[in-house]
Structure formats: C-alpha cells, structure tokens
Amino acid sequence: MIRFSKLSVFFTGFFGLWLQAQQTSGDSLTSKHDSIIRNPSSNKPAEKKAQDIFNLQNSKKFAQYLFKTGQYSYAAEEFQRVIFLNPQDNDTKYQLVETYIQLHNIPKAESYFNQFFPLFDTLPVKFQKQSVRLDVYSENYEKAIKKLTRSKLDSIDKQTWYLGLSILEKRWKEAGEYYQAHVSNPDPVYHQFGNVVLRRLGAKTKSPFLAGTLSAVVPGLGKVYTENYGDALMAFLFTGINIWQAYRGFSKDGIKSVHGWIFASLGAAFYLGNIFGSVKAAKRHNQKIDDDATQEVKAVFDYRF
C-alpha cells in the first residue's frame, strides 16, 4: 500500500511538471493542435515569409487540405485555379476529377477528364484506370471493357477488372467460364469476384409469367410464389372483400345496384393490380439477386481500384 502511494506521488509529480510545461508555453499546445488543420510549414515568424498565399504552390497545398478534410466543392474551385496557373499539372487534373467523383457529379468529372486527356492510349496506367472507373460510375460497361482491352494494365489486373466488368454487365455464364479459365490468378479480389459469380449462378430465380398466371387463378397466389407472404394475404383480402360486397349489392338490388358497381370496380382494380404486382414482384426478386452481386463489385470499384 505504502509502496503504491509512493509510486503514485512520483508519477503525479511528473504529471504536474508536464502540466506546468504545458501552461508556461501555452503556444506549444496551439501548434500541436493546429498542425492537424493548418499548414505545418507556416509556423515561422511573420516577417521571414511575406508569402503570396494565392500563388501556385500555396493554392495547391490549400486545395489538398480541403480535399483531405472533405470540403469538396471548395476544393474543386481551388484545383481549377491551380490548373489555370499551371496547365501542365497532370496530378492536379487527376485530383480535380476525383473531387467531382466525390461530389457524385459524374458527368462533370467525365467532361473534365475528356477535356484534359483526350488520347486514352498514350496515358499512364493511373489515368487509364481512372478513365475506366468513370465509365463504371456512369454505367457504360461496354465502353469500359473496350478501353480495358486497349489499356496498359498488367495481365493480373486486367483479368480482375474484366471479371468485375462482366459481372456488372450481368453476363453471368460468360463470367463463370472466364473465372474457371483463369483460376491461377493470385489476386484475392479476383477470387472474391469469382465467388460472386458462382453464388449468382447457384441462385434460384422466379418466373414473372408463372407469378402472373398464379395470381390470375387465385388472387395473391403469385405473391406466395415470390415469397411476399404478407402482401399475398393483403391482396387476397382486398380483392375478396370487395368482390364479396359487390356480390351482396347485386344480389340485393339487381344489376342497377350502385353499391354493387362501386365495389365491383374496386375489386376488379385490385384483381388486375395484383396480377400486375405479382409480375413485378418476380422481376424485383430477380433484380435483387442481381443487385446483391453487382453491389459488391461496385463497392470494390469504389474503394479499391
């Protein structure tokens, strides 16, 4: 117990010293904190550097800081200024395009890319990759594949990207065959894509025609087939109650019953709507299986490539 208290006194003593040091040089705290958000090289006395903060180098620094802190629309402005000051700066052009991708303004990013780099074949790999990515974001997969075959990517990358693009194009069978043909590819991402393809090939799809037919026979049955059980129950009840009410109206007042006609038309609308909805539900079911596959590939294109 005694030993422990002595130790704690010892350490609190050190802590006190440290605290004192912090207090006596209050500015050291300032600089430590500010180095995260301010230009680190500007902590020099003012008279030594009467610098132009709108010149090329400083604008570039500031723009990169804005990009890193996620202030993209402000960063885009600054990158544009840097490019205006130095039209040969290809890296900044690359970053400007990236900024517009971050702002989800793909058409603008594409138009800038085409303006900056009109000749695809002469570009370095980094820029070619960006070009293909832009086509992926704007869902021009055919164009992307054409560019990929012309590009200077190494064969391993080329295989991975090609597999990813054929998944995005939803050519499942072809993608499966391609994957089996190049299993020796050492890239883990390639095998991740391969798993996506195999999973999609093993999944069971629903037939829209069958769903519609089933719903035409018994209202709601098509939705049981597409595994939307709650919707099936509601569709059956909606159609059933309306038609039953119409039947009651007609049997009481004959063919001139207003009550009957109102509920008959409601029942008919729900009956037709349910057939329509069952076809749509089957399509949606298939769409979801496809989306699950393509979503994973799109995420890889977003964060890895």
Binding site: N228, Y229, G230, D231, L233, M234, A235, F238, A269, F270, L272, G273, N274, F276, G277, K280, R284
Partner: protein, 124 residues
C-alpha cells in the same frame, strides 16, 4: 498572493451582435407542401384528371388522416409519379399494387428511409 486580471472592454475582430442572433432561436421554419405540381406537369387530359384527384385527396382527405402509410413516398404520391412516368394505365395498376402492399406485413423487402422513418420504395 496578488491576483490580477487583464480587462479589456472590446473583443478584437469584428463586433458581432450575438444577442441579436439569439433573438430568433425559437422561430419556426415551416415548409409548405406543394400538391399542385402534378397538375402543372400533366401531359394529357387523363393525367390531369388524376392530378386533380391527387390534389383533392391531399388537400381535403389526407390532411385529416393519421400517418398510416408505411412507405416513403406515400402511396398517392407514388401513384401520381408512376402515372407521370409510365403512362396512365401502367401507373394506375402500379399504384393499386402499391396500395395493397402498404400494410404492417410489408417488411424485409425494402430499405429504410431513416429521415422519414418509413420503408423506401420509389417509382422505378
């Protein structure tokens, strides 16, 4: 021990009237819904007819209702948007189907819109 305080009446920099800003802290900013937009964007008479129905429903009936639709956008908005996008017949059937899907059992199939606390099911 002597304690001294540094006192300066005016803060450096621009003189900001912060009390004047605080004056408006409890003011309400209400947005008014605009239900006449489909009437203005209608392309034919049938679409306009549905747009008028939509306006009437929203103004006199939906405005008195409990908040019962489980989807965002709501079923009436979905139907009018679908009619505008796909035509009257397709949109009408699409809307009727949406109406029969709008129930407490409509789970597991839809993403959640956290802003409106509803299932998100836009016109496709």
């Amino acid at each position: 021990m002597n304690i001294t305080f540094k006192i300066q009446a005016q803060a450096p920099g621009n003189n900001v009237d912060y009390i004047g800003q605080v004056e408006h802290v409890f003011d309400l900013h209400l947005h008014q819904d605009n239900w006449t937009a489909p009437m203005r964007s209608a392309r034919n008479e049938a679409e306009f007819f549905f747009a008028v129905l939509y306006w009437t429903y929203k103004t006199f009936i939906s405005s008195q209702d409990i908040d019962s639709c489980v989807f965002y956008p709501s079923c009436s908005t979905y139907m009018i948007e679908s009619i505008h996008k796909h035509g009257v017949l397709y949109g009408f059937l699409d809307g009727i189907d949406r109406l029969s899907r709008c129930s407490p059992f409509a789970n597991n199939h839809y993403p959640i819109d956290f802003k409106h606390k509803k299932y998100y099911d836009p016109v496709q």
